[in-house]
Amino acid sequence: MEILVCIKQVPGSNKVEVDPVTGVLKRDGADSKMNPYDLYALEVGLELREQYGGKVSVLTMGPPQAKAVLYEAFAMGADEGALITDRKFGGADVLATSYTLSQGIKKFGKFDLILCGLQTTDGDTAQVGPEVSETLGIPCVCNVSAIGAVKAGGITVMMDMPEDIEEVKVSFPCLLTVQKDIMQPRLPSYKLKKATESRGIQMFTLQDMEDTDEHHYGLNGSPTQVQRIFPPTSDKVQQKLEGTTAEMADQLYRILKKKKFTA
């Protein structure tokens, strides 16, 4: 079985602040890591390979230093890696990112199963997986909480829905986004790390893609445009309620009502 896991390098911490005077993002330097949700997707890929055979490839998109996450995946057991990188891909929103990934996937190979983490910790949209599947024209199942058997050209999985768990069978090729805790991700192995540290990876730039029209990528290929960024209006109120006990209780009731905790 040919398995692809899409992974992303994310900032090591979410502690970003906007300077209220200049409007400039203040960000803690170079600290970055693999998106934690992607570890679960990778683990699913590796376990399926162990059970059914085949190959696990990993793909990421970002600046050249993002290839660090590919080597992290190699140290966990992934077989092959590719990095999609080009300045022209910068400023991509969900649609342009998904399109770029789809183009990269087509370039990378033919896959039966594409695995993604449920969401990233920096963008938090959970939208890239489903958009990639649409762009590739394959089915997808999101919020997968458990993996069943692979047979007859498809895979059985559990989809976590608001009120129930649905057992669904989906035919290959398909894309799954998996939930946290679906499986316990293994630790990277020192032996594998040593053995793979000089492994080559493929690099895809705009020129390598089937579609080389730069209007479809990066900022130019993004329908959504960020108009401005600003610090959130501080909702961290610190208010001491005054009055008699009954009056304070009434005030609290109005606050809870306003915040929709009660009718």
Binding site: R87, G90, V94, P130, N143, E163, E167, P232, L241, I255
Partner: protein, 399 residues
């Protein structure tokens, strides 16, 4: 093709200039500034750098979408077997507000099986048209089938914007459809507004919530946005019906799917303090074990759970799985009401990321008040009964 062009001669201090970039996308090479693939086109270098050092070059405008052909604000009706999720009503309220600003209609899109009767309920919430596709094939949520029906609706109605609840269904369906129309989708908007030209102003937290971003989809239609439950205000249900129900059909052949639903198992309602949206916390201010019932009443009224501090577990009043703090569980509910809790550091570390923190304690010096958003210096045995009666009275009025 929009791009950034570096004008080296305008840069005096290369090091100071490359520091402007929050993503480290500018590097120095042989004394010259170069841009790398880390660039996110945020253009802060254009705004904050020396005048003219970085130039943003836009090419001639692409042909623009004819916005007059896309009219109305549509809401996707989120439901489980016809039971409409309340986020739908909240979105209808917002849609009505936006639509009135630009004098356009409000639509609802309802996809499912045996739902035509439930569709009438939507008419009590100020819609102009409810579009219903009632097909056996739409009984279970399957991404391809639902996306196809959704596509038919968009091609038939041409709404300017579509709002979708950020539920497990909405979060799969909205991106699938946005990609199909190659249009923009903004997840988890917290504020929505609209310009006269029907451009939807979408505001959402970015980078883990420390920054807000204002986003437009200026050249694509339909515009799409998802919104979480309990972010917008639900309108009052009107006793009169308004608008009309329009049914539409999609052929069975088109509703094919590569996904088969084999079995559906009802989830057991799991109760854990980490999962609760609302927590009422018992501290040492509680006089006897029986008084937990009072806090339980409050938790029940607010749809939450009761939790406790460590001394409560040590005294045997609670099971350890209800304990908040470093030696217990870390919680992040939307609302936490601490009752007679002093606020030891170990406790606070387990709950200080809660959205709204209310503290009730008789001791004005209790350290919990440093963490609380709303501080009540008072006796929980007086405050909570009064609060309970207010809540019950309020519910009575609305019933």
């Amino acid at each position: 093709m929009a791009k950034l062009v570096v004008h080296q001669d305008k840069i005096d201090d290369v090091q100071a200039f490359i520091k402007i970039c929050p993503f480290g996308a500018m590097v120095e090479k042989d004394g010259k500034v170069e841009l790398t693939a880390a660039c996110r086109m945020c253009r802060l270098c254009v705004k904050k750098g020396p005048k003219g050092a970085m130039e943003y070059v836009e090419d001639e405008k692409k042909p623009t979408v004819d916005k007059s052909k896309w009219r109305g604000i549509a809401v996707y009706v989120d439901h489980v077997e016809g039971r409409i999720h309340p986020v739908t009503y909240e979105l209808l309220g917002k849609a009505r507000e936006l639509a009135e600003k630009i004098s356009q209609p409000v639509y609802a899109l309802f996809l499912g099986s045996e739902i035509t009767k439930e569709a009438e309920e939507l008419q009590h919430y100020g819609v102009d048209k409810v579009f219903v596709c009632d097909k056996e094939e739409l009984k279970d949520f399957k991404i391809e089938t639902y996306a196809t029906a959704f596509e038919h609706f968009v091609k038939m109605v041409h709404p300017a914007a579509i709002l979708v609840g950020a539920t497990p269904v909405g979060r799969q369906l909205a991106p699938r459809c946005a990609a199909r129309f190659r249009t923009g989708l903004t997840a988890d908007c917290t504020v929505l507004d609209i310009h006269e030209n029907s451009d939807l102003v979408q505001i959402r937290p970015a980078f883990g919530g420390n920054i807000m971003a204002e986003i437009l989809t200026p050249n694509h239609r339909p515009q799409m946005a998802t919104v979480r439950y309990k972010v917008m205000d639900a309108p009052k249900r009107s006793s009169d019906k308004s608008g009309e129900i329009v049914t539409f059909d999609v052929s069975t052949e088109e509703l094919g799917s590569h996904v088969d639903v084999l079995r559906v198992t009802k989830k057991e309602k799991e109760k854990s303090i980490e999962m609760a949206d609302v927590l009422v916390v018992a501290g040492r201010g509680l006089k006897k074990k029986e008084d937990i019932a009072l806090l339980q009443e409050l938790a029940d009224e607010l749809g939450g759970e009761v939790a406790c501090t460590r001394p409560m577990v040590e005294s045997g009043w609670f099971d350890a799985k209800h304990q908040i703090g470093l030696s217990g569980r870390t919680v992040r509910p939307k609302l936490i009401i601490t009752c007679g809790v002093s606020g030891a550091i170990q406790f606070v570390a387990g709950m200080n990321n809660s959205d709204t923190i209310v503290a009730i304690n008789t001791d004005p010096k209790a350290s919990i008040f440093k963490t609380a958003n709303y501080a009540i210096v008072g006796d929980l045995y007086e405050v909570i009964p009064k609060l309970l009666s207010d809540i019950r009275e309020g519910k009575g009025e609305n019933a």
